[in-house]
């Protein structure tokens, strides 16, 4: 398709949309999908048919509506009313009461102006509630592929890179490396063959930001990757998705097929001489395969094991060729940077952290789900406004950001702005966007143990500090929570933590000690209580009251 055809589809789709007075939007995100929202559309259409409303009310399956913890969700526009906990049994009743009986259900209703939504700022998640993930035309109706058209037809490769550099976008996969600089490095490599890779491995426990982008708006990812390929001069791309995300794989596959058929992927894209295609690679679900060098090895069909950098993938990546590897969310920001300009993007967020960040809100808060906020919102706003406060009115204790590589931030930093630098300063990281809120009934040693177990299980086993160090640290944490540890064990734990952090080969080992070190930094008294008083301050661990002197191991 060329630009005229793109504009044509846009116009036609919007003409159709404007005919409807109302739209019923059914969340088709993974969470709601698995809770039964797949079968809502048929039921709702039957109700509308019964009351002859089919011509004035549209029914659309859309992407994730964000409040996954209260799903399945159904949203009604233009009223901006969101019904929560909808089920196959009550969906017909809800629609009837809303449109026919005029006695709308009152309980379990969320409004679009609730702080949960009002405090958010959508770039990556924009139009998730409007676009049907399985329909290319629906994406185009909301401005899809205009950024690709603009890049290919009005901008040089260098212009695109300049715009991304100007935006200040930093990689959303964890380390926060400036995206524009990475693109420039790859574009400058003399090689004829180059690759573009999307990291959709997302192995952090509890994280589902990338999954929801791939499921809710697959074309936004394809568009971003295609623009990247144009900028760096690549002709083949790979999306690496974990096998645990079947819905993402299904929707991405369909999107790729549709895009090829429409001439948005393949040879001579949009009638230009630029050609690019994308294939999907399914990972077997090892956390370490999210590490870029392990991921590339895995795509090559080898054991997914990291290697020492340099050389970086930008110089020597897939099969030794220069390779651009970015995270799903990073690519999902590109369309907005091209359409609105790098300066616009750079005006959002803080001094050094630009734009927005998507978080998976989890833990002991009222609103759990997917949120996107401008960089720099405070932890307080995240918890008490967007998150709707702590469950059961309990006291806030700490928040864990950055998943297993991150740290625990205590209550005293509740007014800390959430951006790359601030989080690092207090001993945590942004990571990929995990945000787990913990209340007063949480034992920090227990939390550290959980993450250490995760890292020990997921270590690839290549280097000694991580392979053995994480297991020994895990065992010491177990001893502490059992009440079997001595101060010598505690000292060994700390010594190991520093060693493993500095000596490990890849990011997994280098960050595995973070949950331990940050909880020691802020909650040392909890460790000491377990060890010296055989007591768990939060009353979580079953600390046994035996005498250490008489036990031997």
């Amino acid at each position: 398709m060329n630009v005229e055809e793109l504009k044509d589809i846009y116009q036609k789709q919007n003409d159709v949309l404007s005919k409807y007075k109302h739209r019923i939007l059914i969340c088709g995100g993974a969470s709601c999908h698995s809770l039964g929202s797949v079968s809502f559309k048929k039921i709702v259409e039957d109700v509308l048919a019964k009351y002859d409303l089919k011509d004035s009310v549209a029914v659309v399956n859309v992407g994730c509506l964000g409040l996954c913890g209260k799903g399945p969700l159904v949203k009604i526009e233009p009223e901006g009313i969101i019904y929560t906990n909808v089920s196959v049994e009550n969906v017909a009743d809800i629609v009837e009461r809303h449109f026919v009986k005029r006695t709308p259900r009152e309980d379990g209703v969320m409004r679009a102006d609730d702080p949960f939504y009002r405090k958010q700022f959508y770039i990556v998640l924009k139009d998730f509630s409007n676009v049907d993930p399985a329909d290319l035309n629906s994406y185009i109706a909301f401005g899809g592929y205009t950024a690709l058209a603009k890049s290919l037809l009005e901008m040089s490769r260098q212009d695109v890179i300049e715009e991304v550099k100007k935006s200040g976008l930093r990689g959303r996969g964890g380390a926060g490396f400036p995206t524009g600089i990475k693109w420039e490095t790859v574009s400058k490599q003399p090689s004829e063959t180059k690759f573009v890779v999307c990291n959709g491995d997302e192995g952090d426990p509890g994280a589902f930001m990338d999954r929801s982008v791939m499921e809710s708006m697959p074309h936004r990812l394809l568009e971003g990757m295609t623009i990247a390929a144009y900028a760096v001069g690549a002709s083949q791309g790979f999306i690496y998705v974990r096998a645990e995300y079947p819905l993402a794989i299904e929707r991405l596959s369909k999107a790729i097929r549709d895009a090829r058929r429409a001439g948005l992927l393949g040879t001579n894209i949009m009638g230009t001489n630029f050609s690019f295609d994308i294939s999907i690679r399914v990972g077997a679900g090892a956390f370490v395969c999210g590490e870029e060098t392990a991921l590339l090895a895995s795509i090559e069909g080898k054991r997914g094991m990291p290697r020492q950098r340099p050389p970086f993938p930008a110089e020597k990546g897939l099969w030794g060729y220069p390779t651009l590897i970015n995270n799903v969310e990073t690519y999902a920001n590109i369309y907005a940077i091209i359409n609105n300009g790098g300066d616009w993007f750079a005006s959002i967020g803080t001094q050094k952290s630009k734009g927005t960040k998507v978080f998976a809100l989890a833990g002991k808060i009222n609103n759990t789900g997917l949120v996107e906020v401008p960089m720099g919102v405070t932890i307080r706003e995240m918890i008490y406004e967007i998150g709707g406060g702590i469950q059961g009115g309990k006291k806030f204790k700490a928040v864990q950001t950055g998943g297993p590589s991150g740290g625990c931030i205590p209550e005293k930093f509740i007014d800390l702005p959430v951006d790359y630098e601030s989080l690092r300063e207090v001993g945590s990281i942004m990571g990929s966007g995990g945000f787990i809120v913990m209340d007063e009934n949480t034992c920090m040693v227990d939390v550290a143990k959980f993450f250490m177990e995760f890292c020990a299980d997921e270590s690839c086993g290549k280097c000694i500090p991580c392979r053995v160090g994480t297991v020994i640290m895990k065992d010491i944490l177990q001893k502490i929570t059992d009440g079997r540890a001595t101060m010598r064990d505690y000292q060994n734990l700390k010594d190991l933590a520093y060693m493993v952090r500095e000596m490990s080969l890849c990011g997994l080992g280098q960050t595995a000690p973070n949950p331990v070190l940050s909880s020691i930094m802020y909650f040392e008294e909890e460790y000491l209580a377990h060890i010296n008083e055989r007591r768990c301050i939060a009353n979580v661990c079953e600390v046994k009251q035996f005498d250490v002197v008489n036990t031997y191991l």
Binding site: R303, I464, G469, I472, N492
Partner: protein, 238 residues
């Protein structure tokens, strides 16, 4: 090829472009513990014992894979590094079942040697006492998993030098195992040419000759030197 100058522990050294820090360290007879590295095999930077400090680089870098640069200032022996290396060696002793007194390579073992080198007097961590299996199915050699330090030298020499690719890794984390063939008894792997290269490069008593008993197995790596020299003199190319 241009000559580069650098200092290692304040000693002036020279090297050629493309050489690694470890090359220069060896040429200048500076002491540095290494385990996974073996001249002639692709470096993997896995054991992390050779990590050194380089001025201007915030992270520690492995000497075995880091190329030298003009004016580099390298330190190999800070208090911190010595402490970290000792911990790594202790972790290896805690991981496997290294009962030296009954080991075939007692006295000739690289791990034992590393213990002396880093000044290890005892293991401060709890032993993991994992259960391992011995594979004595091969007509000439034995594989004792309990001594394996996962340096992957056997895998690399068999793949890169002998060309048989008998060995590989299985599992992950602490459960990583070096396996022969498709995880079958070594004696059943038809690809094995019985050349013994893996046995000779193994730094510990994990791979040994069947006839050897306690303290008898001295490893001989002179074949690697000969192959390397042959390659350099282009007697044959791979």
């Amino acid at each position: 090829m241009s000559v580069l100058t650098l200092t290692i522990n304040d000693i002036q050294c020279t090297g050629r472009e493309g050489q690694t820090i470890l090359d220069i360290i060896k040429e200048n007879k500076i002491s540095l513990p290494v385990l996974c590295d073996l001249k002639g095999l692709t470096p993997v930077a896995a054991c992390r014992l050779c990590l050194v400090e380089v001025k201007g680089i915030p992270k520690l870098v492995p000497a075995c894979t880091t190329k030298i640069q003009e004016g580099m200032v390298v330190y190999t022996d800070s208090e911190k590094l010595r402490n970290y290396r000792r911990m790594i060696v202790e972790l290896l002793f805690a991981e496997g079942n290294h009962i030296c007194a009954s080991c075939v390579v007692n006295g000739y073992c690289e791990l034992q040697n590393l213990g002396y080198m880093v000044g290890m007097e005892s293991v401060r961590f709890d032993y993991l006492w994992q259960l391992f299996q011995i594979d004595a199915s091969h007509p000439r050699y034995v594989m004792d998993q309990s001594k394996c330090v996962k340096c992957t030298r056997c895998i690399r020499v068999c793949d890169e030098v002998e060309g048989a690719h008998v060995w590989d890794l299985k599992g992950r984390g602490i459960n990583v195992r070096v396996i022969s063939g498709l995880d079958e008894p070594w004696g059943q792997v038809k690809e094995c040419t019985q050349c013994g290269k893996c046995v000779q490069v193994c730094p510990v008593g994990a791979l040994f000759e069947k006839t050897a008993t306690t303290s008898e197995m001295i490893k001989d790596r002179s074949f690697l030197e000969r192959i390397l020299e042959g390659r350099e003199a282009k007697i044959w190319v791979r």
